[in-house]
Amino acid sequence: MQTEDTLVLGGHTFHSRFILGSGKYSLSLIEAAVKYAGAELITLAVRRANTKEQESILDFIPEGVTLLPNTSGARNASEAVRIARLARELGCGDFVKIEIMRDSRYLLPDNAETVKATEILAKEGFVVMPYMYPDLNTARDLVNAGAASVMPLASPIGSNKGLATKEFIQILIDEIDLPIIVDAGIGRPSQACEAMEMGAAAVMCNTALATAGDLPLMAEAFRQAVEAGRKAYLSGLGRVLLRGAEASDTLTGFLHD
């Protein structure tokens, strides 16, 4: 490739296409996870503080990594907006990943509320990255609402079940001009690779790493898988030989001159 392959989100340029989640594992592993995953974006959550808790997760995140606070815990647009504003007040830039769940069993995102929150926060200058169920009409609404990317789920969050929504994610990739970042449900590097081959702009993972036997090693595996998938996408996938007979009649035999 002649030009450098970068991911641009809200005017910020990234070289890595792997977004790292920081939940469900110890703070002491974050640095290694970031390093082996080559991550430049890391998600965080905002929670009520406990008193006398002196350790801050921010102290464990290496310099130069962009923070992507999420709005987990929000059940509607106004709660998401409130959390996003608090996150910005915590002093970590303008990125926000909108997560609105009205369902505690499957933790599926509420697309309609997500569109509302996106519209409000985009107007306030946030770089809005909404997590959503892969629906084309919602994705178009998110574009119009000012989102910086669209983050469809691959399968239920935390399930490690892989690209259950593949066909629908492909439609978003084909039809939406914003970066499509596959988020939630990716459980294996091969699934991340496949998402990238499909043309996803990036992949985000948390549970797949948090539940791996050796977290830094799995982080490295994801980095390599995402890079491989990206290169395959950029190179233009090769042909697949089809089985089946050639038509015996020519279709174009009627053409003159």
């Binding site: 989640g21 920081s22 939940g23 469900k24 594992y25 703070l27 974050i30 998600t43 965080l44 959550a45 905002v46 929670r47 009520r48 503080a49 008193t51 006398k52 808790e53 002196q54 801050s56 997760i57 921010l58 923070l67 606070p69 999420n70 987990s72 409130r82 504003r85 608090l86 996150a87 007040e89 915590l90 002093g91 970590c92 969050i157 935390g158 939630a184 985000m204 948390n206 549970t207």
Partner: protein, 64 residues
Amino acid sequence: MITVNGKPEDADGITVTALLARTGYTPQQVAVERNEEIVPRAQYDTVMLHDGDTVEIVRFVGGG
């Protein structure tokens, strides 16, 4: 009485800075909401808390 992160606290008439110091938070690590309005960090010394206020103190934790 005021409510801090869901718990009652006898903090009528003190500043946000005083509340954080008394309860043991590091001001640089938290964001503060009073009655669902964000209190900017620069105003911690001047914003007074009053009876009936609801205060939320939040910080970053790990999350996906």
